[in-house]
Amino acid sequence: MDKTIEINNLSKEYKVLNRKEGFKGAILNLFSKDYKYIKAINNVSMEIFSGEILGILGRNGAGKSTLIKMMTGVLKPSAGALSINGNTPFKNRKQHALNIGIVFGQRSQLWWSLPCIESFKIIKEIYSINDDVYEENMNFFNELIPLNELMNKPVRLMSLGQRVLCDILASFLHNPKIVFLDEPTIGLDIDVKDKIHKLILSLNSKKKTTVILTTHDMGDVDAICKRIVIIDNGEKIYDDKIYKLKKYFGPNKTLLAHINSNKIRDDSVVITNIKKLIDKHIQLIDYLSVECNNRWIKIVVDENQISVLKVLNLIQKEFDIDKIEIKEISTESVIKKIYEGKCL
């Protein structure tokens, strides 16, 4: 496989003023030279290959956006080397811009008050996309998501999910070699996240675009990435296939379900009932762990054996469930285990 991105000992420091408080402080701030440095990315190296979907996972403030901003050419690195398709992003910004697509989850490149299609027309001109390519891409996009209704809708009237979907399509419009998605699923619920995962997968497989996605949600990388890089406190702490990491966790998901009935007083009775239920209906190699607390049932499900939905279906027959939640492995627990040396 070809390398498209090479990062060598990359670092980024932000210089920020040590601000003083109060009115006197506000005036002093104007003249202050009292700076401190925040190391947002610390000596990170990696290679990214053409056509792969790389997930960059990390908690809030880990340095993901800073890394993406350097790769896209927004920020100039403080130290280290960065080469993308032979370009240095910060130096050849315009040339670089033609080769990449970008989505920053919290903002949109679409024109707020206009129907989405107007933004697409503008992007077509700005990137000098010729008519055939534009036509072909729009037809392909239309196969993935029905565009008719979406394209004529003013962006400000869209739901967050619709807007993000449009932003992702917009970033692929000029057939970039690499697309950067900085937390595209932030603030979205599960079924919209699922749509976004599918969209990214289809775009990647049809167009062979390299996709670099950041997230603080293990579910995102689990759904679409083969390789993940974990960043914490600006440092790279993991860079390998995702299945190796998952070996240590098992393909577990946690199902939380709340019973809507005051009649049930004794949590331990619930547990016994559920265990019986599972024994009766499913043959399992290992037992699932079942807990119950204040009518909240918690079952850790090994998805290699059975899907969470089947388990849910089963308990729903016996209990009146009014709230459910399915939790992926949490990013925090992954990072904790890595530090404990358990994953290496």
Partner: protein, 268 residues
């Protein structure tokens, strides 16, 4: 390519300004009419009480025409460029713009000009018609109208560049209102939009003529005001306007590329 980009963006800018500011146009027009009434009575009073025909070589009709037309042209100076820049900088949206294959300056220009063109049209035309009748059809309507229109287009560019340069300072000063007010006052005073440049004291006038602001108002107005303008004057006016376009364009590029480091190096 850039022309087609411009066309598509200007169209979008016009659609956007209708979506946002349709009622704003009406208010602007109303403001203009009130302001027009104000200067009518003010200068009528000045001319009548002093019982004079000519003030600094201008008759009442000429003065009214000059100032009335300046009012009609005010929508040109109504640019949102500083506000737009400040919003982009404060929200961090700017990082999306600097990684586009089109420069931020060009992008913003196309974004703004659609709005400018439409306000100039919607607000200027009605005001112009009223001024035309108030001054007893004093304006000569011939080929000078064409020169006037070309000159106006250049004015819009100059005014935009001034706005962009001032807007760049939003990177240092987080007060778009302060910056925009300052720009408005300077442009209004030194461009001849409020007081005809002919009324300025000799020294001030020669200084003002060396500044870019007169190229925004005074220059296009000359084409409507002077009857029988000669070729030399036409060339001189356009040369002066183009000179300022080039200088301000270069200046805005330099200032922007220095200031943008505040974002690309320090992260905003």
């Amino acid at each position: 390519m850039i022309i087609k980009t411009g066309a598509v963006m200007i169209k979008a800018g016009i659609m956007q300004s209708f979506a946002y500011r349709a009622s704003g146009f009406l208010l602007m027009l109303l403001n203009n009419l009130l302001y027009l009434a104000l200067i009518y009575f003010l200068w009528k009073g000045i001319f009548n009480s002093n019982n004079i025909e000519l003030l600094n070589g201008m008759t009442f009709n000429q003065t009214l025409l000059y100032l009335g037309l300046a009012v009609a042209l005010q929508p040109i100076v109504e640019t949102y460029v500083i506000w737009q820049m400040s919003a982009d900088i404060l929200t961090g949206q700017i990082s999306l713009h600097i990684v586009k294959p089109i420069s931020y300056q060009t992008y913003l220009f196309f974004l703004m000009i659609g709005e400018n063109l439409i306000t100039t049209l919607v607000v200027f035309l009605p005001t112009f018609v009223i001024v035309y009748f108030l001054t007893n059809s004093f304006v000569v309507l011939s080929y000078n109208i064409l020169l006037f229109v070309i000159s106006i287009l250049i004015s819009i560019i100059i005014n935009y560049l001034v706005g962009f340069i001032v807007g760049t300072f939003c990177l240092y000063v987080q007060s778009p209102a302060g910056l925009d007010n300052m720009r408005m006052i300077v442009v209004f005073l030194l461009s001849g939009a409020i007081i005809p440049i002919a009324f300025f004291p000799e020294l001030l006038r020669s200084v003002v003529m060396l500044l870019p602001f007169q190229a925004i108002y005074n220059a296009p107005l000359q084409f409507l005001l002077s009857s029988g303008i000669n070729l030399n004057e036409i060339i001189h006016t356009f040369a002066n306007q183009l000179f300022w376009v080039i200088i301000l364009y270069g200046l805005s590029k330099i200032i922007w590329s220095i200031s943008i480091k505040k974002i690309t190096v320090n992260g905003g």
